[in-house]
């Protein structure tokens, strides 16, 4: 090619516009962008906005009512019970699944035999849906034919364990099922974190004669801080979503004793046509997620910028 040819080529070659560069890549990213903007941002804002309007059924004339929906929400006993249940369930679920998960992970970490089999057994409930979990435990906790009946037949006539019939303790009945379903997952997470810890730590603690349980609590646990944080965030965001477990196991009963916020929202939106309350309640759910999420995001990402 002579240099004159090259010169013509140069002038003929226009710089491709920035927008059209890697067009295929941008085209392929359209679903992601739509989902991020329209659904996660758009729909969230839409719901928050409408929680401040009076809308029994859409489309209907929207009327700005300020905090009226929130005032009604917080004066409804059903919502208050939902919140209380969520608090109890959340607190115990977090504590129990973390401690059970950690203990089980530590036991499995001891280079034991049948590790795979045991892990398979502990984790299998996690593969089951909440509906299946709820129904299975509904049957086991059945007051007439379930666990209570069996123990009484064994001779302990006064034995009483009927959480599904007792409004006071029904949430603990759900808790048992929830822990059964999810603790294996926490164990797997923590076990993966434990295995990620430098083997030399164990050699050092052996040389210094520190007992294994002390090593786990005072050395391994602090080193696993990031894994714990991840686990807590996952468990917490799962707790707020609890819905199908309650629907299947108790349908919110007895009465409204085992209602939870997620269920409350769905009922208000789709069954009692009280959208304003539903939006307000779901906004409250979002708020509680943010309370968990913002400190975490600050710790995770805010720290990196400074470091």
């Amino acid at each position: 090619m002579s240099s004159t040819d090259a010169g013509q080529l140069d002038t003929a070659m226009k710089r491709p516009p920035r927008l059209l560069k890697n067009l295929a890549a941008k085209f392929a990213a359209v679903p992601m962008v739509l989902i991020a903007l329209v659904i996660f941002v758009g729909c969230t804002i839409w719901t928050i906005y409408h929680s401040f309007t009076r809308s029994r059924l859409l489309p209907a004339p929207e009327k700005w009512v300020g905090l009226e929906n929130y005032e009604r929400l917080w004066s409804e006993s059903r919502w208050l019970i939902s919140i209380e249940n969520l608090a109890i369930y959340g607190f115990f679920s977090l504590i129990l699944s973390l401690s059970i998960g950690f203990i089980l992970a530590a036991l499995l970490d001891r280079k034991i035999r049948f590790e795979n089999t045991i892990r398979t057994i502990i984790l299998y409930p996690f593969a089951l849906s909440f509906v299946v979990t709820g129904l299975a435990w509904q049957w086991i906790l059945n007051p007439q034919l379930g666990l209570q009946n069996v123990v009484r037949n064994w001779g302990w006539e006064t034995f009483t364990f009927d959480p599904l019939n007792n409004a006071e303790i029904v949430i603990y009945g759900i808790l048992i099922a929830g822990i059964w379903q999810g603790s294996g997952f926490v164990m797997v997470l923590l076990l993966a974190g434990m295995r990620g810890i430098d083997e030399d730590i164990w050699k050092a603690s052996r040389v210094e004669g520190i007992p294994a349980w002390k090593t786990y609590i005072f050395i391994v646990m602090p080193m696993m801080r990031p894994v714990f944080v991840t686990a807590i965030v996952i468990i917490a965001s799962g707790i707020i979503k609890v819905y199908d477990l309650v629907v299947a196991q108790t349908s919110g009963g007895p009465g409204i004793a085992s209602e939870v916020p997620a269920k409350y929202v769905i009922e208000k939106m789709f069954f009692s046509q009280n959208l304003g309350l539903g939006f307000a309640a779901s906004t409250m759910m979002l708020l509680s997620v943010l309370i968990v999420l913002i400190p975490w995001a600050y710790l995770e990402f805010g720290g990196k910028k400074n470091g």
Binding site: F40, Y124, G184, D244, G278
Partner: protein, 313 residues
């Protein structure tokens, strides 16, 4: 110092003796055995209950094995159990679930893997921002977005129906649910693929570009064949997740297209008629069978999937 020689003769020598039944081991294995019992118990109870007749259930205890094994509850659960609306059993729910599952898994994985690939290798202005929104979106309670999505599905579905002159609808149809599963599968799957593609050496991508492959060429010929394990992991994640879904099934479908979980709940918690616990347990087991099979077959990959999904980007 003179003692050393005698000690050398008599002192410990050869491999250290290990006690198999040390107290430590008894505690560890004992605890683990009890734990396994607790986790296995519900499964055991479900199985034995589903194999008993109702008279035996009313008399006996839930832990005792069936005196007389019957498969009738299973047959009934599959084809005759009533939901309060109809008495077709779980079979319709099963076929609905399959019809929902296949396109949902396919579409969600296709969209998320391409997005993850674009995020890693073809960054554009703002791509990281969209990804961050996506990740934070994973934590937004579904309840916040559920109603506006109903409106979006109703309007766009209706619009498409009008334009094409068909009775096409998204709300209440399987395709609406496919879209919903794709949307809510996006955060976790995109994270999964993004993390995986990040681990593919950048030089491989550069080499392919020098070799003249474009966006889709590199995706299909280089990335896809290299990433089969992560596609399997994503499939396990999605099949289990979509099969087990209850909430979206209730909201976005109608009774004729209810997935199996919803159908199951309606059968068991139906207020009509006498409670047939054996049929209920058979139905529950039937619904749990698909994810359980996947879990036991895939084993390590399942564990890898949930661990990978949990690890932050």
């Amino acid at each position: 110092m003179g003692d050393t020689s005698t000690e050398m003769m008599t002192g410990p020598r050869g491999p250290k003796k290990r006690r198999v039944m040390s107290s430590n081991n008894i505690i560890i294995y004992g605890t683990l055995a009890l734990v396994c019992l607790y986790y296995l118990l519900p499964l055991y109870v479900m199985i034995v209950t589903s194999l008993k007749g109702m008279p035996e259930i009313r008399l006996g205890n839930i832990f005792s094995p069936p005196v007389e094994v019957t498969f009738e509850p299973w047959v009934k659960a599959w084809s005759e159990a009533c939901t309060g609306i109809n008495c077709e059993g779980l079979s319709r729910g099963f076929s609905n679930s399959v019809k929902i599952l296949i396109p949902s898994v396919f579409v969600s994985i296709a969209v998320a893997s391409v997005s993850g690939y674009a995020l890693v290798n073809w960054r554009f202005k703002g791509s990281e921002t969209f990804f961050t929104i996506l990740i934070f979106g994973a934590f937004i309670p579904y309840q916040v977005m559920i109603y506006p999505i109903v409106i979006i599905l109703r309007e766009t579905g209706g619009f498409i129906g009008d334009v094409t002159g068909t009775d096409f609808r998204l709300m209440g149809s399987i395709w609406g649910l496919v879209i919903v599963h794709t949307i809510f599968g996006m955060p976790i799957l995109t994270l999964l693929f993004r993390n995986y593609f990040t681990s593919v050496p950048d030089e491989l991508f550069k080499a392919a570009r020098v070799d003249g492959a474009g966006f889709w060429g590199i995706y299909f010929k280089i990335m896809l064949p290299m990433s089969l394990p992560i596609f399997v992991v994503a499939m396990i994640l999605q099949v289990t997740g979509i099969w087990n879904d209850f909430l979206f099934g209730v909201i976005y479908t109608k009774p004729e297209t209810y997935p199996m979980t919803v159908q199951l709940n309606n059968i068991v918690n139906s207020v009509q008629g006498v409670k047939e616990y054996n049929v209920n347990m058979a139905a529950t087991l039937l619904t749990g069978l698909v994810p359980l099979t996947i879990y036991f077959v895939s084993g390590r990959l399942f564990v890898r999937g949930i661990a990978a999904g949990a690890v932050k980007g």
